[in-house]
Symmetry: none
Subunit: 226 residues, 2 copies
Amino acid sequence: MDSLRILVVDDEARMRKIVRDFLVAKQYIVIEASNGEEALDIVYKNKNIDLVILDVMMPKMDGWECCKEIRKFSKVPIIMLTAKGEESDELQGFDLGIDDYISKPFSPKILVARIDALLHRTYKLDEVDIIKAGRLEINKTSHIVTVDGKTVELSYKEFELLCYFVENKGIALSREKILNSVWNYDYFGDARTIDTHVKKIRSKLGECGEYIKTIWGMGYKFEVDE
Amino acid sequence: MDSLRILVVDDEARMRKIVRDFLVAKQYIVIEASNGEEALDIVYKNKNIDLVILDVMMPKMDGWECCKEIRKFSKVPIIMLTAKGEESDELQGFDLGIDDYISKPFSPKILVARIDALLHRTYKLDEVDIIKAGRLEINKTSHIVTVDGKTVELSYKEFELLCYFVENKGIALSREKILNSVWNYDYFGDARTIDTHVKKIRSKLGECGEYIKTIWGMGYKFEVDE
DNA sequence: TCCTGTCGTGATGATTTCATAAGGACCCCT
DNA sequence: AGGGGTCCTTATGAAATCATCACGACAGGA
């Protein structure tokens, strides 16, 4: 994932610096604005801003106002920085379309956690679903399997079957169970078709193919040797 | 696996509908409650609820309170729906015995993914079926037998037979009974075949083989010496 | 073409049978 | 009572039989 671009809007340079330092440390790209109008301008011209951190208290155009304006043309996630005692403003904030708020003073942990959470919610970053097993890595999101980092080409069914094995590692699986889970429940074909798929997966995975164990008279089991 | 039953608790009908639609699409059975007390009642009376999705903000009895009450008599997995900015409550939530939380607003994918993950955590692991007897351990799920922690390779029939013995430890079993239980009822071969299997199991189990006692003129009995 | 599923074959391992040895129970005889 | 014989049961090892699996090849379909 490439670095995400975060716009920090605050009239106090000191505050911007604090926030920037935390974010830069977390590999984000930070753009700064010292007032609402400038922020509006930047968001408008740079369509690639991924998140806006907006201070409430600013001269000329305050945070709420700025937020309202941004929402007229953009759905970029916005986090508001509110000073203490402004909790009553929360509801207003949510109505205006902010996605989260952080009360000052805040800890760096809170700041980064909230940003991460919001970015995840918004861009669904955490849906990346990776399962590792020994030298094997399965990325369910991108449908990619690697052995020692090298990509292995699997067909759709092979991928499904492998996922099922890995998700049930250590469990002895009968052919019937496998058929019912990986194939549609209305599939009544030959259970031997599993053998064929297992064979192909094993050969494609190379040495990792041995992770799929045959349990004689029973079925298969996925297990990583120690 | 049959359809799992999920209880959705939220005072807003609109919210319940959103969640319900996603879950029904995923083949879950959805039960609804519009407040904490109702939820409590449903969980108490229907022991077959497999998961509870609980909104935090509810009139009368809120989510935390409801969770605490449910935990007094049930271990059913609970996912909390928290509104924005309630992240600080997280820790409290986990103390109260919730299993996961999802911040609003959430994507359907997140919701379903978390539910799936939690159900797997909760019920898959419970499927692990381990029987211990002296220095012997039988893992029925992964079809593994160990003596003093060392794996012993048993064939399918041997495994079945050993399980039968262990599950009936202390009970004298006639050959006929064993045949009828471990072999298919339509097997009419020689009962001597049991002897052969017992012999193989005994030798494979080493010293633990002595757990299988011969009862002269009768059959066998599994018993761990003190 | 590539994916998926089916089939036949030989190899492998599991199961059963069989022959024989070993062991226990019982009885008779001293 | 105890030794020895006999009968019946169980243990053992080997051989025969049987079932399952891996593999290659192929067919139908997207």
